[in-house]
Amino acid sequence: MRFATACIFALGTALAHAGHDDVKVDPALRRLPGMIAALGEPDAEGRIYSFYGKPIGPAGTPAAYVPGELRGWRLTLLAGKRFASVFEVKSNSESEIIVTGLDGPLNGIAERDVFIVEEIAIAR
């Protein structure tokens, strides 16, 4: 199922431009969809607060994150057991994303789960 989902994402991003004059509206916010490549190390209690991932999307999507850029951004899981779960990004490197503990641990996420990071604060 996870592989099938990944294939659908890959197909979706690979589809050719249809050639129509597209509807173009301003993005509501900056965002970067991505896929989890590996889980971070759990702490002593087994809680996970980080993972390794990479941006995925149409042509022009960066190959890696800009270190530190995602601090304070909202991270939402788009697939897997933690579907629709939301976290605040604490820090990031080119490939690792660390979340704050404010929304609990990431436990339940898995490799190939898809997520999106958006430049907007979580409403608390």
């Binding site: 659908i8 979706g12 004059d21 597209d22 509807v23 509501a28 969809p33 788009l78 939301v86 976290f87």
Partner: protein, 169 residues
């Protein structure tokens, strides 16, 4: 005895909704089908990704402007971002609504006058037709299918092109 049974049913319903939505997820839905539809539009307009997702059934299939999202994950990844951009950039005025169905399966048919502007200033002014099917799990309805199209052939073509490109940035 009857009170105990009612309490047990309430606890079971609550448990089911907790199982369906993992910890950390904004578990939402609505007791009235039309409210779920309106809440979904509001979540998009408010840039609330998780809020919008929480109103979708995990069995969601979307038909939208000629494109198909066969899973909720595919919709969340490919088209929800653009729908959010469009919701923020435009005004959706409800023009008509019919509701029906029974039991745990309901439908909500809506037409909206959608107005706004594209990035280059080109006006958007068209009618969007929306069919939504909802499924009740526990006490709450969530969207299990929606189908949108428009009577504006040019907008339909442009939207179809946009939807072939994957998520917006």
């Amino acid at each position: 005895m009857q009170d105990d049974a009612m309490k047990l049913a309430a606890v079971l319903a609550l448990s089911l909704s907790t199982i369906a939505w993992a910890p950390g997820a904004a578990a939402q839905g609505a007791r009235i089908p039309a409210d779920a539809v309106d809440a979904f539009h509001a979540a998009l307009r408010n840039k609330d990704t998780a809020g919008a997702l929480s109103l979708l059934d995990r069995g969601l299939v979307v038909y939208e402007f000629g494109a198909v999202d066969p899973t909720v994950e595919a919709y969340a990844f490919r088209h929800l971002p653009f729908d959010m951009d469009l919701a923020v950039a435009t005004r959706w005025q409800l023009e008509s609504r019919r509701v029906g169905g029974e039991g745990n399966e309901r439908w909500v048919l809506s037409t909206y006058r959608v107005t706004g502007k594209q990035s280059d200033g080109t006006p958007i002014d068209q009618t969007t037709l929306e069919t939504v099917i909802l499924r009740r799990t526990g006490e709450l309805f969530r969207i299990v299918h929606f189908h949108r199209s428009t009577s504006d052939a040019a907008f339909q073509a442009r939207a179809q092109g946009q939807r072939s490109q994957g998520p917006a940035r």
